[in-house]
Amino acid sequence: MSEVSQFLMQLVNGINAGSIYALIALGYTMVYGIAKLINFAHGDIIMVGAYICLFAISSFNLPIWLAIILSIIVCALLGIVVEKIAYKPLRSASRISLLITAIGVSYFLQSLFQLLFSANPRPFPTIINLPALSIGSISISAPYYITFIVSVILMSILHLFVQKTKIGKAMRAVSEDSQAAQLMGINIDKTISITFAIGSALAAVAGILYCSSYPMVNPYLGSLPGIKAFIAAVLGGIGSIPGAVLGGFILGIIEALTKAYISSQLSDAIVFTVLIIMLVFKPSGILGKNVKEKV
């Protein structure tokens, strides 16, 4: 294989991982924008989504499309329930309490699934049965290009939703000034619930896509992609939707190129180093805004 096609192949790997990170990062960034909360349990929603899809197909023999829809709906509801039970009572508490609660929810979900289904990994069924795509000298397998296409479609829909619809505008208003938004007649509880539902639904899709590329499901499956997506969200500028997408792709590509050309063992370390460098030099992220306080 020539140098160029090797590089292109790595780029394809990076874009595949990047699409998944971007989808997850959207959930982080939207929830942060609205509730000013880093929802560390977000990564575990991916795991729940993957398990539900797995059981719907292998235990209940549901058709694939139905399994995917079921997984999306359950995760959206789970997102709403987690917010209502764990975060809503703490809305006026300090941010650190919320952060610790989010970590608690994350461990709760992991332990719950370990208790229910054991820690043993289970194989994930093949749900994308399409031929690989050959472009020039490289061939792209079906899960890879489907992941990319699905992510781009979902991100475009989300963009339209946030920019054009009434609920989307309400979401932007709440993220800028939740009190003023309430006083304009916006129901903030409803807006927060919708945000969690959308974020979790995207996480479910991300979980299914992730398991299509790496077909193994275990209760800790969500934590590493979750953390990486969080880094992506911070890299792009937390609170910014285009930032999350950009951060996701950049991170995926950096990771893939590191694995290929530097060291596969060091790739995670390098990804975290990117986060540290970013936080040192531009803490607000690539597309984030520097909030200056007037004195």
């Binding site: 054009k164 505008k169 932007r172 009190q179 003023a180 304009m184 916006i186």
Partner: protein
């Protein structure tokens, strides 16, 4: 009929009695002033009227309906809108989108309509757009419609905040120091705007203000608040000539 009736309203912050036995009656179409020295509790009263704070005791009746302990968005839907002492626009949204946020609660279309872009959606969006534009024209803000709110000049931002509040179709509009930080000419313009708003929108107005020229110029009745209690309630002439009021503002 009275638009707003406040009876014996009070609130405690820990051991501090911030507002005590506050009474207020606003008639339909009235332009009412609430004045008092700094820290007298004027904004606290506004916060109780709009549901930001829950009063410790007393009653707030909006058109005879008790609105104590309702959430902010419910009260907004029932017809109280407000502006803020320090401007709180949605800065990154365009001028017209700020107004549309206020309008949206009254136009119902569902998610399916908006994602599928049905005819119903386009009709309603057009209606919202038209109404928002009309509202901006009243404030001569229509030429700025697509500009980000944070890029407007200061005086225009204040007016946009009033426009945004009016978009919720209030029966009572609360203005918290609308002339704060304005120069005399801007204040003069603002007085005209407030008069026009009352005439065109059939709304009662309660305003907090330190600029005495503005208060005396447009308010029909005034309540003076000092240390959380009502000092006096009367017409502008009665208020300016009252020795108690002069004492509260200037000291002995």
């Amino acid at each position: 009929m009275n638009v707003l009736e406040v009876k014996d309203l009070g609130i405690n912050f820990g051991g501090l009695r911030a507002v005590d036995h506050f009474n207020l009656t606003i008639k339909k179409g009235e332009l009412y002033g609430l004045i008092g020295p700094n820290g007298a509790g004027k904004t606290t009263v506004f916060n109780m009227l709009t549901g930001v704070y829950a009063p410790s005791d007393g009653k707030i009746l909006l058109q005879g309906k008790n609105i104590n302990n309702l959430s902010c968005h419910k009260i907004s839907q029932l017809g109280i809108a407000r502006t803020f002492q320090n401007i709180r626009l949605f800065k990154d949204l365009s001028v017209i989108d700020n107004v549309k946020i206020g309008l949206h609660e009254r136009y119902k279309y569902n998610l399916v309509d908006s994602l599928l872009r049905t005819k119903r959606y386009f009709n309603l969006e057009q209606q919202i757009e038209d109404e928002a534009m009309e509202l901006l024209e009243v404030f001569r803000l229509h030429t700025y419609a697509r500009v980000k709110a944070c890029n407007l000049p200061y005086g225009k931002q204040r007016e946009l905040e009033i426009a945004r509040a009016l978009a919720t179709h209030p029966i009572l509009l609360l203005l918290d120091e609308p002339a704060a930080g304005m120069n005399p000419q801007e204040t003069q313009e603002l007085m005209e705007v407030i008069k026009k708003v009352r005439k065109n929108f059939d709304v009662s107005i309660l305003l907090i203000e330190h600029d005495m020229k503005l208060v005396m110029g447009i308010c029909e009745r005034i309540t003076v608040l000092n240390y959380g209690s009502v000092l006096l309630c009367g017409t502008p002439e009665e208020v300016v000539n009252d020795p108690q009021v002069i004492k509260a503002y200037l000291g002995d």
